[in-house]
């Protein structure tokens, strides 16, 4: 297990280096001469040359990449053109809200998707199976931004059962002020026993989380169903049946353990996908996360911010994949026995 872990971590580091280089390439692609932007359109040739030197643009490429790397490692991810704050601190402020949203969505997706997939595999070919498959395929084909608008219209504006936007009722800031520690209202409210804010933040979380959960539910349900069905033809399932285990145990206890492996594998992908999907949803729900930050950066063409967010999510994804690989190796002995 240790050997496997070391191998995987080493690989992840290589990929991270590549990720940073790729974001450098993206940042470098910005059309226009930064020296002109810096010195102004009426600068003389001498001033441009000085500007170029000041910005380090006259350095050879490897040096520039090296400086970029160094900057990334020391936390200097550039300054946002729009907010005038360091990009890394902007990301730090915005990330918890998105994390709250995505984690909630994934919890919903697992709690809904796995049982749905199991049920479909247990009674294949039935009306239940077909219904579940249709739901799953709709989830996977759904334009998230459209679903967000529709659900917001139906539940928040027409039926008025759920709040329209925001993370929690802003009036509560005065009546039940929240002690912020993790920047995530749900967690903070739980930690400090602030039940009013907890209720409000959960209610605000429902719609966005359900929308973001649409794709993962589809993927997880489809994957679970497919994996369990595949296993059902195997000899070991016959053997378990021959030992007298009831069908529901054969599927939910034994076959499911085998299916967790590929489902876990897909979790990392689904996590990253959901992080990015949140971009499309956050501005609709006024959710103050990375998505709102990214869409605002796109509107103002705030390149350092865009590159920073891209790099951040790339790194998170590599980390998530690493975690999932290690968890898989722990769950499935065949992987680490290779």
């Amino acid at each position: 297990m240790i050997r496997y872990a070391i191998r995987r971590v080493a690989l992840a580091i290589v990929v991270v280096a590549g990720v940073v280089i790729l974001t450098f390439v993206i940042a470098d692609l910005v059309p226009g001469d930064p020296a002109v932007a810096w010195a102004g359109p009426h600068a003389s040739a001498a001033q441009l040359a000085r500007a170029r030197q000041h910005l380090g643009l006259d350095q050879p490429l490897p040096v520039r990449i090296g400086k970029y790397f160094g900057g990334i490692l020391t936390g200097n991810w550039g300054t946002s053109i729009h907010t005038h704050q360091p990009v890394l601190s902007d990301i730090g402020t915005a990330a918890p809200a998105t994390l709250e949203l995505v984690v909630a969505a994934l919890i919903i997706a697992l709690v809904a998707g796995v049982p749905l997939g199991l049920a479909a595999a247990r009674w294949p070919g039935t009306f239940l199976d077909h219904t579940i498959r249709v739901i799953a395929v709709l989830g996977v084909s759904m334009p998230i931004f459209w679903l967000a608008l529709i659900l917001q219209l139906v539940f928040a504006q027409r039926l008025r059962v759920l709040p329209v936007a925001g993370q929690y009722d802003p009036n509560l800031m005065f009546t039940h002020p929240l002690v912020t520690r993790t920047q995530m209202p749900v967690v903070d409210a739980l930690l400090s026993g602030n039940w009013t804010v907890l209720g409000s933040s959960l209610r605000h979380l429902v719609l966005p989380a359900v929308v973001v959960a649409a794709y993962p539910v589809g993927v997880i349900a489809r994957m679970t169903r497919a994996q369990v069905l595949d296993t059902l033809g195997e000899t070991h399932v016959q053997m378990l049946r021959s030992l007298g285990f009831p069908e529901r145990t054969v599927i939910s206890r034994f076959a499911m353990k085998l299916a967790w492996n590929p489902v876990t594998a897909v979790l990392a992908l689904v996590f990253a996908y959901s992080l990015v999907n949140s971009f499309l949803v956050e501005s609709i729900f006024d959710w103050p996360g990375l998505g709102s930050y990214a869409t605002a950066s796109v509107e103002t063409l705030d390149t350092p911010a865009i590159v920073g967010v891209t790099l951040f999510i790339g790194l998170v994804y590599v980390a998530a994949n690493l975690v999932v690989d290690l968890v898989q190796a722990a769950l499935d002995p065949r992987i680490r026995l290779q």
Partner: protein
């Protein structure tokens, strides 16, 4: 007569996968079910286990265990019989065990399913492992860490631990090396002699059947076409097909 099969028919729609007019397996007896692939041998085993339904087949006829009728039993009642009184071992031991569970977990879970306490299950499992000449420590291994022969012996140990009275063996040695095969066959003989198990041994390998079985039934295209004491059937086959099967067996002496 431990196991009595009469007029058994396994059907997929109109297609008859297996048809057994009469087949008996007595206490302390090994009966061979021989035939080529697709002759319906495995379907017969599935039918006796009451599992033919999961493959989408319908079963008619009579299967009696110690005089009790198994066909038509409620699923719950069948589950009490299956795995406790009737055990099965399969062709590919490597794929017969769920790869993400330690083999011991499956053994003890099965024993506990049939009423044993955790401690009793552990003890019986250990004792059974010793009867098949395997150290009980192997129970903590994953299937990938055991050889085919060892896995097959664990499967047999499981049948012993369950105190099964009938063992259905579906090509249990076909995937094993010849030397390992001999060990497994010896184990089966021991089960017959010392525990009086009724064993139904399915195989396409007539040489193994000739060596092991007391009686044999020949299957072809789903039908039992001939049966009797092994020596008699080999010495004086009634059917042409049986003759062909016998002729196809390679002999060391010429």
């Amino acid at each position: 007569m431990k196991l009595q099969i009469r007029d058994l028919r396994v059907l997929f729609g109109d297609h008859v996968a297996a048809s057994v007019a009469a087949l008996d397996v007595g206490v302390g007896e090994i009966v061979g079910l021989a035939g080529e692939s697709g002759s319906g041998k495995s379907m017969t085993i599935q039918a006796v286990l009451g599992l033919a339904g999961t493959a989408g087949a319908t079963v008619t006829g009579s299967i009696k265990l110690d005089g009790t009728e198994l066909t038509g039993m409620s699923p719950a009642a069948l589950r009490a019989v299956r795995g406790r009184r009737i055990a099965a071992i399969f062709q590919s031991p490597a794929s017969a065990f769920n790869p993400v569970f330690r083999v011991g977990v499956i053994v003890t879970r099965a024993l506990r399913l049939h009423g044993l306490s955790a401690a009793e299950a552990r003890d019986r499992a250990a004792a059974a492992m010793r009867s098949v000449l395997l150290p009980p420590e192997l129970l903590s291994r994953y299937p990938a860490q055991l050889s085919g022969g060892q896995l097959q012996r664990v499967a047999i140990a499981l049948a012993i631990a369950l105190r099964a009275e009938v063992l259905l063996a579906d090509e249990p040695t076909s995937a094993l090396d010849v030397t390992v095969q001999a060990e497994v066959l010896e184990l089966l003989r021991e089960l017959r002699d010392t525990r009086g198990m009724a064993i139904l041994f399915v195989s396409h390998d007539l040489a193994v059947i000739a060596e092991l079985c007391d009686r044999v039934a020949i299957m072809r295209s789903g039908q039992v076409i001939e049966q009797g004491r092994t020596q008699e059937v080999i010495a004086a086959p009634q059917q042409d097909y049986t003759r062909e099967l016998l002729a196809a067996v390679p002999r060391l002496d010429g």
